[in-house]
Symmetry: C2
Subunit: 137 residues, 2 copies
């Protein structure tokens, strides 16, 4: 491709259930190995960011997203210790579904007290923005 | 970087003035050489998408953006004939400013009848979404 180097493109999903719980994974690999994080991952060439978000959510948690709403774009060069990544974050809401961990996720679970957890990367910031969007829409 | 290949990351700016005109450039290089387009370009590694948007706007039109509002993320793999690029588009409003073309722009001008123009890439779609956001906010 004739393009200059640009930040790596990723996506994260904030999924709330009807009780206000958030779907989190435990990371299988570094950075933040074992820590809580939002489901997500890198966007493939040839794939839209929405498709990547649905794919990563399915691979890591077994959960199928309905409508996706754009939360924001997170591109602080320091947000990932491995290098500069930009994440496009989406909000989804599901009624009832049992998560099943897979791929890069060691575990996948509905978390009620997510406000108390230390989350990987800037996922606490993404979650705060998602909560604001969920209340407004 | 240990990252897999991902789409190239770009940004575009929709700038409206107080009369509802849109700031457009004429492209100096292919694709759509000579055609109208939104100011924008690739995000550098180490730069946020907001900073890239302001930088490209300044380089191509000499205009400084105030507050940026996120319009959307455009990642259709076919949107750029050169390869897969994902654009993060922002809305800005300026009161009065005289554009001055530079960098990849052969010209930069305020355009009143932009709805009639054939724009490069998916910029007509981005402009429609920007107009909806501008009316709502």
């Amino acid at each position: 491709m004739p393009f200059p180097p640009t930040p790596a493109l990723a996506t994260d999903a904030v999924v709330f259930d009807a009780q206000g719980r958030v779907l989190l994974i435990r990371r299988k690999y570094p950075p933040s190995q074992g820590g809580y994080a939002l489901p997500g991952g890198f966007v493939d060439v040839g794939e839209t960011v929405e498709a990547a978000c649905r794919r990563e959510l399915m691979e890591e948690t077994g959960i199928e997203a309905g409508r996706l709403e754009l939360i924001g774009v997170y591109s602080d060069p320091q947000r990932d210790p491995r290098g500069h990544t930009c994440s496009v974050a989406f909000l989804a809401r599901v009624a009832n579904a049992e998560p099943k961990a897979g791929d890069d996720a060691a575990a996948a679970e509905w978390v009620e007290d997510w406000r108390r957890l230390a989350l990987a990367f800037d996922h606490a910031l993404i979650l705060r923005d998602a909560e604001r969007l969920a209340r407004a829409s």
